[in-house]
């Protein structure tokens, strides 16, 4: 604790505080604009840190990280387009809340629980980092496979009414993830001679296309009315737009979602893009009113935003303790360590202990800055809803197109955006849930890579899947989830319909 206070004292200079403010604001902008991300923000500002001291550099980069992760909720709630893959699940309830005239409340809930989720993840990081890092070294591909397979089994839980359509969408996502070079051996699959497909479809343009372009196509079917819409009388919103009672009522969801976010963030390669979706499903399954999810309730926003922000603390653990980045932004931070002549890993605590605690303090202070900036920003952000739709939507598509291009400066990503937009539109017409597709697309390559690594490691034996304790537990939980889902969504409805037919006869 003394070291943490020491780190905070070293951080509190006028220049550092200004850098953190600017970093959080820029990070939020990058997070809010579909196509841009915290990874990009950190990558862009890395050269700027050449002229700054080590402490100033990390203060700025950490601020960009925090702001970037939190910023995604803005576009997810207001226009149903996630700012990044970390905010996909925020659209499920955040946007319906905005459509119901509760945009301010949705944003307020998102901001506060982003903050609380960040603090949760940071607390775990600060107090448990060395122990968790030692545990992380023992994890092998068997555990990674079991965990990602468990996450895959949740596809059935977000299927909606027709589980077969949900599974179909999920497996379509997995099929798309197999395009390109196979993991491990690099065998080229389903490119049909197209060089651009060698690396498969890039995630961000695919997700933006599936949400942004689809949204436009669904909106444009009817011309926007030229009559001035009479604004509904809204309650005068104070503060964050929700009560203290509602805050306390979300404690269980906060702890569950933040725990999932921290764990998923802590596993290298998993990241916040997975955390928010897994946490959303987990909170839905443990809720007293799971049928209300997707209609616009704060529980959904709490689940998504707590988990994606908690993954920040999770992702920092392997970075600081082992020198292994947990996700994209931490990979950029690893670059920052190298630029400043530092080696991330176990020795970092010994050779540059003050810097480590400064980073901890910066993460905490930036979380507070994020809440303050977004609190005052909400009132301005909500005014964006007053922009006429015929102006807002085309501008959003243009920004999305630029964002999709910006990732690799490759025109192919723009065509990816269009193709996935058409796919998303067709999926909504055929009532195939896009959420399942995205889960399958994100998880498909993770599951395959870890399965193949595990088989190679065991020289072809599948016994480790049944003898390693954590793997057995995770696979058992997966099995239970599958059995329960089959029972609830297939067998019970069949029994009930037979009973109803019998009664009717």
């Amino acid at each position: 604790m003394t070291a943490l206070i020491g780190g905070a004292m070293a951080l509190i200079t006028v220049k550092n505080v200004l850098l953190m403010f600017v970093g959080v604001i820029v990070g939020i902008l990058f997070g809010a604009i579909p196509g841009l991300s915290s990874t990009m923000a950190i990558a862009l500002f890395l050269p700027v840190t050449f002229g700054l001291s080590t402490y100033e550099s990390f203060a700025l980069l950490v601020a960009l990280y925090i702001g970037g992760v939190s910023g995604g909720l803005v576009s997810a709630i207001l226009i149903n387009i996630p700012g990044s893959a970390m905010s996909i699940a925020t659209t499920y309830d955040g946007h319906p809340m905005a459509k119901n005239g509760q945009a301010h409340k949705a944003l307020g809930v998102g901001v506060v629980f982003s903050f609380l989720g960040t603090l949760f993840g940071l607390a775990v990081m600060i107090f448990a980092a060395p122990a968790l890092a030692r545990f992380a070294i023992t994890l092998q591909p068997y555990e990674y496979f079991a965990l990602s397979f468990m996450a895959l089994s949740l596809i059935a839980s977000v299927s909606g009414q027709n589980i077969f359509k949900g599974l179909m969408a999920g497996f379509m996502g997995i099929a798309f993830s197999t395009i390109g070079m196979a993991p491990i051996d690099g065998v080229v699959r389903f490119t049909f001679g197209n060089i651009q497909l060698m690396n498969g479809f890039t995630l961000l343009p695919a997700v933006i296309g599936m949400f942004a372009v689809t949204e436009i196509l669904l909106t444009v079917v009817k011309p926007v009315s030229a009559d001035k819409v009479v604004q509904q009388e809204r309650e005068h919103i104070k503060g964050f737009g929700f009560s203290f009672k509602e805050l306390i009522g979300q404690t269980k969801n906060l702890i569950l979602a933040s725990s999932i976010g921290t764990i998923v963030g802590f596993l290298p390669g998993m990241g916040g893009s997975l955390a928010n979706q897994v946490a959303y499903v987990a909170v839905q399954k443990t809720s007293k009113y799971p049928e209300k999810f997707g209609t616009g309730i704060i529980d959904g926003v709490v689940a998504s935003e707590s988990s994606n922000n908690a993954s920040i603390g999770g992702a920092m653990i392997p970075l600081l303790a082992l020198g292994i980045p947990g996700d994209g932004p931490t990979a950029m931070l690893l670059g920052a360590f190298m630029i400043h002549g530092l080696v991330a890993g176990p020795m970092l605590f010994k050779t540059s202990g003050e810097l480590v605690y400064l980073i901890f303090a910066a993460l905490i202070i930036c979380s507070f800055i994020m809440v303050v900036v977004e609190f005052y920003g909400i009132k301005i952000i909500v005014k964006a809803l007053n922009i006429p739709r015929e102006i807002l939507y085309p501008v959003v598509i243009t920004v999305c197109a630029v964002g999709a291009y910006a990732a690799n400066s490759n025109m192919f990503d723009l065509w990816t955006l269009l193709v996935f937009g058409i796919l998303g539109f067709m999926m909504s017409k055929f009532k195939l849930p896009r959420a399942c597709f995205v889960l399958g697309f994100v998880l498909g390559s993770l599951v395959e890579t870890n399965l193949r690594r595990a088989i190679q490691l065991s020289r072809g034996s599948i016994m480790p899947f049944f003898t390693r304790p954590l793997t057995v537990v995770l696979l058992a939980v997966t099995f239970i989830i599958i059995i329960r889902t089959v029972w609830v969504q297939i067998i019970l409805p069949m029994k009930n319909s037979k009973k109803a037919k019998g009664e009717y006869a």
Partner: protein
């Protein structure tokens, strides 16, 4: 000509409403079967120890499951034909569906043209054209605001180009404006 197009679109819409699950199931089964057979031609590298560990395993499993799911959806679709025929859109509903179909096609075409023209006539001009077209297209004719749309389109296009070029170091396509700008 327009009437013939409308009749054609109404046939598609009515067919879709009646047979959507059958069509979906059929497409998934057909495509998955084709790709499943394609997977058999994938190279099995010397690194692979067992079939589970080859580049063929996950695609084969995935397409196999998709074939199974496609058949189930197809059968569900067959069961629902009568029910779907009762709920077909008629009259004004059908007209609205035809208009919606046309509008979605036009919107999609405009995005495709925007992407296509970007490298040829520059991002700035393509974006101005795209923005202006869609602003007029999205709203009823009596709500058109010419000055607002033009100014917004120009400011957004040029600002995006400048911001991304100057601060994010992303060079958006210049097309024939190369040499004129930057």
């Amino acid at each position: 000509m327009t009437k013939k197009i409308d009749v054609f679109i109404s046939l598609i819409i009515r067919g879709f409403y009646t047979y959507s699950d059958i069509v979906l199931g059929f497409i998934i089964v057909a495509v998955s079967a084709g790709l499943y057979m394609n997977t058999s031609h994938l190279k099995v590298s010397a690194q692979s120890i067992t079939p589970m560990d080859s580049a063929q395993f996950v695609p084969k499993l995935t397409f196999g499951i998709l074939i199974f799911l496609g058949i189930i959806i197809l059968l569900q679709g067959v069961k629902k034909i009568k029910e779907n025929k009762k709920a077909l859109p008629e009259g004004e509903q059908l007209i609205a569906a035809i208009i919606g179909f046309k509008r979605a096609t036009i919107a999609l075409t405009s995005i495709a043209l925007f992407i296509l023209l970007m490298t040829r006539i520059s991002f700035i001009i393509a974006a101005i054209l795209y923005l202006m077209f869609n602003m007029y297209f999205m709203v009823e004719r009596r709500g058109w605001k010419h000055k607002t749309y033009f100014i917004t389109a120009v400011i957004v296009s040029i600002s995006l180009y400048y911001l991304f070029n100057r601060f994010i170091y992303v060079k958006l396509p210049l097309g024939f404006l190369k040499g004129v700008i930057g």
